[in-house]
Amino acid sequence: MAEPAIKRSDESNKIVDEGIDKGIARLTPKKIEQVINKVLAAETGARLKTYVGTCVHCGLCSEACHYYLSHDNDPKFSPAGKVKQTIWEILKKKGKVDQKFIRDASRIAYTECNLCRRCAMYCPFGIDIAYLISIVRRLCHMLGVTPLYQQDTAHSHSATLNQMWVKEDEWTDSLFWQEEEAQDEIPDLRIPVEKEGAEIFYSVIAPEPKFRAQLIYQAAVIMNVAGVDFTMPATPGWDNSDLCMFTGDYEVMGRLKKAHFETAMRLKVKRIVMGECGHAFRSVYDVGNRWLAWKMPPIPVTHAVEFYYELLKEGRIKIAEKYDKPVTFQDPCNIVRGRGLHDKARYVVDALCEEFIEMHPNREHNYCCCAGGGVINAGPPYKMKRIEGNKIKAEQLFAAKTRGAKVVIAPCHNCHGGLEDIIHHFGLDMELHFLGDIIYKIMEKPV
């Protein structure tokens, strides 16, 4: 295979999204102005003002953004370029913008920025562009102009406290089902449900019981083999994911985090361990908890990467035979820029795999997967746009491949979803796994 092929569809701006289009149809310039000014007055302050007043329009953030790099350096996709098209204009016009403007702002904020915060490391002033785009999303939410699929997810969150309309019985039943499946392999395996006083509450995102139940299975095997005293709840609050954080529905975001942490408190666990998901970590670690006035998570949250690190370091799981295919590693924004887990992740990868090939750039500087920040949740209408918006990731993966990498490890659901599409679309022909997949495969298990 040569260089990744560039297939650009200029159709991306003509994408039909009923959520946005119908939302726009309900608006009037007067309503727009009213809502914008009300929200800005009530919810923004020194940060917005200082960031906008400090930006010297130098363009240095541009090369941080995978959208910009993937769109042949089109300035409209640069971080500051997106800010210019949205919040600058809103502030300049004091909210007197029309429906078309809001339509574009919604498209930019929800589908052309993953809030990955890489640009904060390229702006000399450390201007938090993800925060500025989040304000635009908040405004769009308050105006009712959100991508349909994302909004539906937000509705699911509000009605069921999980992301995928999973009903209370379905959740518990899927745990029983995975327990039973896994008992075929390890007869005394148990997924303890509602075990008060366990050491750990293992929390996951709703796509796991819904589509990727094998991840629960694998986690159960790892937990059981390592002798971890864990439990999973039988009540809402089991899901740690949070698309409301990304649509801008902070009130429901808070409700979700409250349910999650209060479930941990009710179960009297010492900490929460969560599966390989990035955005959920962001929401429990430094976004959702803050909205509720918890300065730090009231019950500590350990991400799977760090948890695997502990298990391997303490020798609680042993590797029967190292994974022999050469691997590369995708550093997810929310646990690397968001939690500095890159070194622990490398410890885990080195402990599991024969050969590890770095992607470049890596660690805090890794390129975003282009799926996070709610973008993949904007659904099928934006799929091609999302894939084409990350040509640079294909190039980065391809470079790792030419140096021998056959497998990509992505310890985050969004990264996983994003990379899966990129690998497929650009014909990269690489395998894609979670860390848990590999641990499960190569760990020593009781016979």
Binding site: S158, E168, D169, K195, G254, P298
Partner: protein, 425 residues
């Protein structure tokens, strides 16, 4: 707890079961549960290939099931379990299964005297509640927030009342949910309905509702407060006058409102889990007086003691004059009573318990993997492998301690009644 006066309050220690032996008797023993009076200790055990039962005081039930979970004792010391046989789920009470079976049951709830047992159930993808083996006649496409009245006679939940397809966001936003009381939905729909609360007499239900994506308020028996807020938390009925109060969010701060009017004159960075004293004269709530600091406010006035991590499980004394809660600071847990924290810090503490005369507070606490009971800040001498919440005698002079001594393999479960003079000097 029910009929507490009839329990055995004779001072002394009694071996109830040699739980350490259970591991030899069964391939599979789950974590034990103890009845409120401490007379029974039970656990889910495996009695054969794909065959589970409940072991009670060293003896398994005669009935076996494909799966048993959610062992819960009612206030009257009856034991319930959620059981399935050949794919059909039901409730077993002291080993006797209900006649009706379902595709799934969960969320067992008890009325104050334990007579009324309610679960949420699903059959043929339809959802409803079942009380004492009697299911609701009406069924819904989902059911959540199952809530029972004080006596357990009435049951409410939240259910979709308009058929909605996934992805139809605009229909959702018109309002497709309502509260359902004893199977009968309110005749008004909301975008969302969350926590419900029954009035003390069980006659009325109040609910947190969202009437659009942005407008939150409280609905009482389906009638909205005339004020809207940017968010609300769970409402409560006053036991004395039947008014409804709820934490409400105004301009980014939380305060307490009563029947749609501001009730407390100060606001907080957070305010939730408010509760009435038994006489209804006082309200206490968990609050954050400033960002990242947590405490209890009584009638709107916060304690000066605050915790950085969290405050939870607050409880009023029976006379309504005292409040105790769990507080956590720097990863360590303790109990605070009336604004003063116990000196000792623990790895975990459980909800504190007041004596009937309101003078003493006891709590289960964990340190270095061992459990003990702490009374007014002082731990009792013994520590345990497993322990359940203590109970004060009706005359407040004794305390019932239910604990497993020894290591888990050789553990023995004792029921012990201690005079308080002994333990606290």
């Amino acid at each position: 707890m029910h009929n507490i006066g009839t329990w055995d309050w004779e001072t002394g220690k009694r071996l109830i079961a040699d739980t350490g032996k259970w591991k030899d008797m069964f391939d599979w023993v789950e974590e034990p549960y103890v009845s409120p009076d401490g007379e029974r200790i039970v656990a889910v055990v495996k009695t054969g290939e794909m065959e589970y039962s409940v072991c009670e005081n060293d003896t398994p039930w005669e009935s076996t099931f494909d799966k048993v979970w959610y062992l819960r004792f009612g206030p009257d010391n009856r034991l319930t379990a959620l059981v399935s046989s050949t794919g059909a789920w039901t409730v077993a009470v002291d080993g006797a299964a209900w006649e009706n079976t379902f595709d799934f049951v969960w969320n067992t709830k008890f009325g104050a005297d334990g007579k009324n047992i309610t679960v949420a159930a699903q059959k043929d993808m339809e959802y409803f509640a079942v009380t004492n083996d009697i299911p609701w006649e009406t069924r819904f496409s989902a059911l959540s927030n199952l809530t029972i009245s004080h006596d357990g006679k009435r049951v409410a939940g939240v259910a979709p009342t308009v058929k909605i397809k996934q992805g139809d966001i605009f229909i959702f936003q018109e309002g497709c949910y309502s509260a359902v009381v004893d199977g009968k939905p309110w005749d008004v729909n909301f975008v969302n309905v969350w926590d419900l609360a029954f009035s003390h007499d069980g006659e009325h239900v109040a609910a947190e509702v969202r009437t659009s994506l942005y407008d939150y308020t409280i609905a009482v028996d389906g009638v909205l407060w005339d004020k809207i807020y940017t968010s609300v938390w769970m409402p409560q009925f006053s036991p004395s006058n039947g008014s409804v109060t709820a934490p409400v969010r105004i301009a980014g701060k939380w305060t307490l409102a009563q029947d749609g009017k501001l009730f407390w004159d100060r606001s907080f960075a957070q305010l939730w889990h408010h509760m009435y004293s038994p006489d209804g004269k006082k309200i206490a709530a968990v609050v954050a007086p400033k960002y990242g600091r947590w405490t209890i406010a009584v009638n709107g006035i916060p304690w000066s003691l605050t915790f950085g991590d969290l405050v939870t499980d607050a409880v009023f004394s029976p006379d309504g004059n005292r409040v105790a809660c769990i507080g956590k600071e720097g990863g360590k847990w303790t109990i605070a009573v009336d604004g003063k924290a116990w000196g000792e810090k623990y790895d975990m503490v459980w909800q504190p318990v007041f004596s009937p005369d309101s003078k003493k507070v006891a709590a289960k606490a964990e340190k270095n993997g061992r459990y003990t009971i702490v009374i007014d800040g002082k731990p009792i001498k013994e520590s345990y492998e497993a322990l359940w919440n203590p109970v004060f005698s009706p005359d407040s002079e004794k305390i019932l301690i239910k604990g497993i001594e020894g290591n888990p393999d050789g553990g023995k479960y004792f029921r012990q009644v201690l005079p308080l003079t002994d333990v606290t000097g």
